[in-house]
Subunit: 243 residues, 2 copies
């Protein structure tokens, strides 16, 4: 038995998210159908980050176990011929036997991009959120460190009955790039809609709707009702997974 | 009478080029229809660079003359509401009376992007040419200076009966950016398909199809039949216009 690691990039626009859903177009559905067609039998895959509908990936990681080691370059070519151009298998490597894309991952890093120009940039509009209003980047940057640490992110998670929302975030910062604002966040793991809710609250701070001073309290109280905005998915990209 | 300068960006994928063509979707057609709707009467526009079908723009410039100065912010908002999201009016300013987007321009700068990764990058595939083969960037970089100077570019131009193909290029260089190669070219003006033909020949040099040593001769002879490849339009972006 051989464990393979696949590195993937995808444009999430046309997918109902990564995870397989009956009757829907998903990244996992497309990928597993291609693997089955090329390898000749169905395979089970594991994934590092189950991205939501409309969310993109630049450095997604998938693992699977196959009976014998295939020709890796040829497999990549065959898969890309089927899943492209919306999905790209950027690398296939043989991993350690105990490698598991989800369980072995020690962190995930996402980037969220907003654009603040007059109009959406036609050359990037599928991959960033165009916000009409001027934003106070200073205020947004000032609250970003409030999200760092081992914290209960219940205020930012669509709760799934009983599961813990404690995560360990070790990077949370805004970066200005002309008329674009990038938010970088790295965490051991993320709960559902966490990044988009953190960005939504930061946006509310930036446009003066939520006072920056109240952010610590919102985090502490775990009160989801005070997080008014969930940023749209198309600005979000799973950037990198650490092992 | 007031002369306006409009700065435009557009995703050229869905257009049959910039210039108006009866019954086709063109950038000029969409823009002039929007201007007519907003200003209440037809206007004539001039443009810095008549991009081909499928070519994009980040810094296109258009000028027009209107009877009285409009509220510029409001005009931009109204136009963007009509022409977006594939076209964006990024700025509107009042120009000198004698400003003319085409005649006043002293240079145009284009960028052509190739990607050399395993598969097309799903997050950028609309804006770069994915070339399957490995390219010898050193060889491509070595011929780039052959295109600098006041030269007859007949080998690279779809000739339009009798017009001169002499242009003055003052920048021609390749830049590597990970698995991407950007070609930057700046010239007083360009003839039809010139950038894509220069990129096509450079690509032929990079893949070993055309010897780099023959490039000077090809330029000198003006022999279009030796330029075998015209790079596809979607990798090309009109970057900036100088006045």
């Amino acid at each position: 038995m051989t464990t393979l690691r696949l590195d993937l990039a995808y444009d999430g626009s046309g997918f109902r998210g990564y995870a397989y859903q009956e009757g829907m177009r998903t990244v996992q559905g497309d990928l597993e159908a291609a693997l089955k067609a090329v390898l000749g039998s169905p395979v089970e895959t594991a994934v590092a980050g189950r991205t939501d509908a409309g969310v993109h990936a630049r450095g997604q990681v998938v693992s699977l176990v196959v009976a014998e080691a295939p020709d890796l370059e040829r497999l990549a070519r065959s898969l890309n011929g089927i899943v492209g151009p919306e999905i790209a298998v950027t690398a296939i490597t043989i991993a350690d036997d105990d490698f598991h894309a989800r369980l072995s991952a020690s962190w995930r890093r996402y980037r969220y991009t907003m654009s603040t120009g007059t109009a959406p940039d036609p050359l990037a509009r599928g991959f960033e959120w165009h916000v009409g209003s001027r934003l106070d980047l200073g205020a947004m940057a000032a609250v970003a460190p409030e999200f760092v640490g081992e914290l209960d992110f219940s205020a930012f998670c669509r709760s799934v009955g009983g599961a813990t929302n404690v995560r360990r975030v070790d990077e949370s910062r805004w970066e200005a790039d002309g008329e674009r604002l990038h938010y970088w966040i790295r965490s051991n793991a993320f709960c559902h809609q966490m990044v988009r809710s953190l960005v939504g609250l930061s946006y509310d701070v930036g446009r003066g709707f939520t006072p920056g001073a109240s952010v610590r309290e919102i985090v502490g109280d775990g009160d989801r009702s005070r997080v008014a905005t969930v940023a749209p998915p198309h600005g979000l990209t799973l950037w990198e997974v650490g092992y």
